[in-house]
């Protein structure tokens, strides 16, 4: 396995650093129909942090990500990204989707250049293609540039998804279970590649996942959400030594155990809710 990139200087989540946070959420609540999903959440994410959002299904973590992308508005509370309320298509963000969301009618290169086309229309088609090809090479798919997505495996499609997101050079990357649709081996390889990419191109990342190990391995910080109406149950900073260094396994296990003991309770809550509903 590849070396885990640990944060050199984790930024303290306090306001006295003088820097404004990339993400600031204040007293945010939302729901669907008559169900309150997220209950009064406040949150701050600093520049350069890799933050994983984990929680039982239905806890609103994906919707929270959509809100950060400006697609959904909260019922109450404030959400700001780089100091502004996000609206769809802002140039400072890019999203990676669980189902890849590549346009089947566009070639791999056209797909990677998609965001550039909408956001940087001042660039010529050639310049856009050059940038797209640069990022496509970074994920090792330069040779596949003229293929259509359906000729690629899931792992390759998500590489295109990653290249598309990095190509617009966002300060904030939002990832909605990006490896959730892949088989375990391909997911492992893509995690390694993501780590590599992040090491080369420092970004603030919010990463939604169901996978505890993925969260611990990739992130500087793990936010654990409770069953709905959800609150942030845990806000855990992950500081792991180099992979294989003394103490690594112990630290890793300790993080995992604590997170799992809490997550387990939340998952069981969801299960008993569901049971109660079926019995009714």
């Amino acid at each position: 396995m590849k070396v885990i990139q640990t944060m050199k200087t984790p930024v303290a989540p306090s306001a006295d650093t003088g820097r404004s946070p990339v993400i600031q959420i204040e007293d945010l609540s939302f729901g669907y129909g008559n169900k309150l999903v997220v209950d009064n959440v406040s949150l701050r994410i600093e520049e350069g942090e890799f933050v994983s959002l984990i929680g039982p299904s239905g806890c609103g973590k994906s919707t929270l990500l959509s809100m950060l992308d400006g697609m959904v508005s909260p019922d109450t509370g404030k959400i700001s990204v780089n100091g502004k309320t996000p609206v769809p298509g802002d140039p400072d963000r890019a999203m990676v989707f669980q189902n890849f969301a590549l346009m089947p009618w566009k070639t791999v290169l056209e797909n990677v250049a998609l965001g550039l086309r909408y956001r940087k229309s001042q660039l010529s088609a050639r310049e856009r293609n050059e940038i797209a090809l640069h990022y496509l090479s970074k994920v090792g798919l330069a040779d596949a540039k003229n293929l259509y997505p359906r000729n690629l495996s899931g792992g390759m499609q998500q590489r295109v998804g990653l290249a598309r997101a990095f190509a617009v050079e966002p300060t904030l990357l939002l990832m909605d279970e990006p490896f959730g649709a892949l088989d375990a081996q391909n997911a492992e390889i893509l995690r390694e590649e993501l780590r590599q990419l992040v090491a080369e191109e420092k970004r603030t990342i919010v990463f939604v996942t169901h996978n505890l190990d993925e969260a611990i391995q990739l992130s500087d910080r793990v936010l654990l959400m409770s069953a709905s109406p959800s609150v942030i149950r845990d806000d855990m900073r992950i500081e792991l030594p180099e992979h294989g260094a003394p103490g690594y396994v112990e630290r890793y296990d300790a993080y995992r155990e604590q997170l799992w003991s809490h997550l387990r309770v939340e998952v069981q809550k969801v299960q008993s809710h569901e049971q109660a509903r079926t019995v009714k």
């Binding site: 992308d69 697609m71 999203m95 989707f97 969301a101 089947p104 009618w105 956001r119 259509y148 000729n151």
Partner: protein, 280 residues
């Protein structure tokens, strides 16, 4: 099967890389989809001709291929081309009207959910009604000539186009629309890059059904009341018990529809290359 006996060889190049090499396929193996149906059709014609030669039935009831061929040559030397010109004009103008109304109306109804809810039952009721019974009324409105046939085609062909366009807009993958919006697309580019390409298969389906209905509309319209056209000719020959010439008219219709459907397939491959299994 013959493919079971084809033997592949293993070739080892200088670097020691092994490749499996299949013997090249011959013309018959490569073009099965072409010659197998032709052979089947030819077989049926030959058997039909042989049985006909035994005089098992009165030729008035069911002619034989050679007599039908004589009928075709007779028609070709006589009124065939002017009839086809009349029917073709009626068909083309009627289809143009059907597409001109069906495509934009379908896009509009598909995009506005409430409008679709309001009109859906009416559209479906009209679609499943055998509208051909309106032909006498259309003759009263538009006369015995081309006008009533054009109206017939337009009314029959518009519904499959309309229904499939609505369906197409509504089944456009929301994830793709979302991805496009997230990367900065607004308004027209969303239609251009997401909705239109994803509708193409529905449009082609609508067009195929519309062509079938349109041909029925022309022929039956002419059959019921007309002064020229292929449907009129078929009826005129049937009424004087000229069975070979009457069936010759039917065979010509079959050939025309095969040609049109073949052209439609080529058209589909042209406008949607990403759906072509043989592409890259």
């Amino acid at each position: 099967m013959s493919t079971a006996t084809r033997s592949a060889t293993v070739h080892t190049d200088q670097a020691g890389v092994k490749t499996r090499i299949e013997p090249p396929k011959n013309w018959f193996q490569r073009n099965e989809k072409l010659w197998l149906p032709l052979a089947a059709a030819l077989g049926i014609i030959i058997i039909w001709e042989i049985l006909g030669a035994f005089n098992l039935w009165n030729p008035l009831f069911f002619s034989s291929p050679s007599e039908i061929w004589t009928g075709i040559t007779e028609l070709a030397d006589g009124p065939l081309w002017s009839d086809l010109a009349v029917s073709g004009t009626e068909f083309v103008i009627g289809m143009a009207i059907a597409l001109g109304i069906g495509v934009p109306a379908g896009l509009f109804l598909g995009s506005v959910r409430r409008l679709k809810t309001a009109f859906d039952p009416i559209i479906n009721a009209l679609y499943s009604t055998p509208i051909l019974v309106l032909t006498p009324l259309l003759v009263i409105w538009f006369g015995l000539g081309m006008g009533s046939k054009i109206a017939n085609v337009a009314i029959l062909a518009v519904f499959p186009v309309l229904i499939n366009m609505i369906e197409g807009v509504q089944t456009t993958d929301n994830n793709l629309i979302r991805a496009a919006r997230s990367f900065g697309a607004k308004g027209l580019p969303i239609y251009r890059d997401v909705v239109f390409p994803s509708i193409i298969p529905f449009f082609i389906t609508g067009l195929r059904l519309a062509i079938g209905k349109g041909m029925i509309a022309v022929v039956v319209g002419e059959y019921i009341a007309a002064t020229a056209g292929i449907g009129y000719r078929i009826r005129a020959d049937a009424e004087v018990f000229n069975t070979p010439r009457y069936l010759a008219g039917v065979v010509i219709m079959v050939i025309i529809s095969v040609v049109i459907m073949g052209a439609l397939k080529i058209f589909e491959r042209r406008i949607a290359p990403w759906r072509d299994p043989s592409a890259n």
